[in-house]
């Protein structure tokens, strides 16, 4: 298992070493730091993958199975929205983006508003994505439709907000959220009759990186 993790890290180490020693012909600036850091990275990634198996995956699956057994779609959708909103609003990398947005807009956008709008977008995204799993619709209609909508809205959005909006799509799905919602989607699709975990279960992450772009641009149009 630890060997697997070493294999995952090896390419980065090789690439950096190759360019540093062979192309630039420079020694390592901080060899002990690099080596010590690599040990931390390997142990960290190993713990993370073990933690996924023990904690995050079972947690997402257990929620999916319990909701499927209850059969109450409305509460499932409430849960989907809440988990999307709550995991995003406190996300540290979103905080950084929101602070920058507050700065460059000269106070027209507040840090709190940006965070709420992005988190609301992720909430809507997970809700929509869960609805798609229940209905069994092909994902491409939603995602391609969503991108077309983004193209249209970009046209009307204020220039200052576009970069921020696109950035927010990338920061929403943290490394902790991804495994949880993947397990939730796959768990739902495997416990609903007629759904395939592979065809219907995946896709929540794609939704979560798309919808916030839209909500942020719409917010920008409204503010400016």
């Amino acid at each position: 298992m630890l060997f697997e993790v070493v294999r995952d890290i090896l390419p980065v180490v090789l690439v950096v070493t190759f360019f540093q020693l062979a192309i630039l012909r420079q020694p390592f600036p901080n060899l002990s730091g690099v080596l010590g850091g690599m040990v931390l990275v390997v142990i960290g990634l190993f713990l993370f993958t073990q933690g996924l198996r023990l904690g995050l995956f079972p947690l997402g699956e257990a929620m999916a199975f319990q909701f499927a057994r209850r059969g109450n779609v409305w509460w499932l959708l409430v849960f989907a929205f809440t988990i999307g909103y709550a995991t995003t609003v406190a996300e540290p990398s979103l905080l950084a983006v929101a602070n920058r947005a507050a700065q460059i807009s000269g106070g027209r956008l507040t840090q709190f508003a940006v965070r709420s709008v992005v988190a609301f977008g992720v909430g809507v995204a997970i809700t929509l994505g869960v609805m798609r799993i229940i209905l069994g619709h092909p994902i491409q209609y939603y995602i391609i439709g969503g991108y077309l909508l983004i193209v249209v809205v970009t046209h009307f959005a204020p220039q200052e907000i576009i970069g921020l909006a696109y950035d927010s799509g990338g920061v929403t799905t943290s490394t902790v959220t991804v495994p949880l919602i993947a397990a939730l989607g796959v768990g739902l699709a495997s416990s609903i009759k007629g759904r395939s975990p592979l065809i219907d279960g995946f896709g929540l992450i794609a939704f979560a990186s798309l919808v916030p772009i839209l909500t942020v641009m719409l917010y920008g149009i409204w503010v400016y």
Binding site: N30, G44, F48, T49, G55, I139, A182, L198
Partner: protein, 245 residues
Amino acid sequence: MLAQVVTGLINTTMDVVPVVLVIGLFQLAYFRRGIEAPERVFPGLMFVVIGLYMFVEGLSIGLFPMGETLAAQFSSPEHIHWVYAFAFLLGYATTMAEPALIAVAMKAEEITSGGIRQRPLRAAVALGVAIGLAVGVFRIVRGDPLQWYIIAGYVAVMIQTRYAPREIIALAYDSGGVTTGTITVPLVAALGIGLATNIPGRNPIIDGFGLIAFASLFPMITVMGYATLARYWARRGTRPAGPQT
């Protein structure tokens, strides 16, 4: 030192707290029962927090500063002919180590009982990031408008969606979202900013962002492409089946 470790751990814990609160609330108030197998789940969550913290710390001690210096050096005029190889290999290597991608690939392998194996899937995503970054660097060097490349990419995704095996589509779309993660983004941003600073007339904010957009677009293309090829090989019977079920 100790204070730093504590703040770092608190920041990572903040990622897990909302998950625990929301799930705990629904368990107790709606399902009216505790979390299943808490003796496994809670240590598991702790492993995730501590593991991610060590991963990020480890990277920022040695690899990030060096990667950023390299990115700056390869975007300078003196070494610019190496920048494509550097962007390509860096994209591939960092994506193979991306924790969120490992999680999604583990899940895919688990539910297909090994029909989709996680390493080839991740390699397909990593190849996409590699190509995406090389093309993205090419665009910055040439100074072409970002939107034409992105629109062309999405047209390719639409056409591929039409012909790719149905089973792979959702997974391919998801793989676009997980590439912009803990390890890839800081290094890619450094490369984009380095290029934009060294080439006159480029905007660090637009061009740095542009690279990340490429990194999340191309994996969709390579994952669907790989699945289509694997199906073709399987039908011809010349190679073992890839991500088919």
